[in-house]
Symmetry: C2
Subunit: 140 residues, 2 copies
DNA sequence: GTGCCTGCAAATTGTTTGCACTTGA
DNA sequence: TCAAGTGCAAACAATTTGCAGGCAC
């Protein structure tokens, strides 16, 4: 019983070929893999010779999001990107020239956010922090 | 010579009725005014009896953004909202139940962001921090 | 006057939905 | 078997663009 079939079942989702394939693609840890758009996943499926419709990709990704298997991000790109949920919260740094995405987590910022919300009489439900960055010239 | 006509000229934009009106709407400081979507601006124009096309609203807002007169935000709402540029950077807290938007600026977080980017060999070009929050019950 | 602007409608892009058909349990 | 899942095409929502006519300078 391979891969994340368990997770699919646990999420109450029937183990079907498109779902398994999409999970596999999200799991494949290529460099720039991770953070894929629906289109990206769709193309990866075609490249893999799988005949899955784009609509299904959207449906499955949305189900995965609801099930907590993936997280959806809306960077400034005009479309959503999806990432496998690892359980560990992190924020993102996106390189504006290469598109490279770096994840990070900073306890100082996290704590500060809580304090700020509280000071305004709110509790944080969720948050989104994205740094748009440019690579500095090497200067070792 | 009223309002921001100067700013329009300075931006190299001809002073036309739609542009002036749209600027006025963005300047009107109603509580929940500020942070308007293209639709919001469009409706405000109609309410004011002005006959401006939605396409023009989009064009003008984009020109304003390019000119640095307004800032575009992409919260998780699926559409962009625009806000008059004040020169002072700030982040946002959006109440998930009321839609209320609170602006804040925290030097600790700002500094930390710089440090983190630097530690990864990047410089920050821009950043976006949005806290999605819920109002806490009053407990004075 | 003339070139920047605008309105309208049509085109795009990203995403969702209706429906007949297929498939996993 | 048979409801859940899928493919396809059509529907949608937000935004952009082409073009003929208008308005600021």
């Amino acid at each position: 019983m391979p891969h994340g079939n368990q997770e699919l079942r646990k999420a109450g989702l029937k183990v079907t070929l498109p779902r398994v394939k999409i999970l596999e693609i999200l799991e494949s840890t290529g460099e720039s893999t991770q953070h894929l758009s629906a289109e990206d996943v769709y193309r990866a499926l075609l490249d893999a010779g799988e005949d899955v419709g784009l609509a299904t990709v959207y449906r499955v990704l949305t189900q995965f999001e609801t099930a907590g298997l993936v997280t959806r991000h809306n960077f400034e790109t005009g479309h959503s990107v999806f990432e496998l949920e690892t359980g560990e919260h992190h924020d993102h740094m996106v390189c504006v020239s290469s598109g490279e995405v770096v994840e990070f987590n900073d306890p100082v910022i996290e704590r500060r956010q809580q304090e700020i919300a509280l000071a305004h009489g709110f509790e944080i439900v969720d948050h989104s922090l994205v740094l748009y960055v440019r690579k500095l010239p090497d200067q070792d």
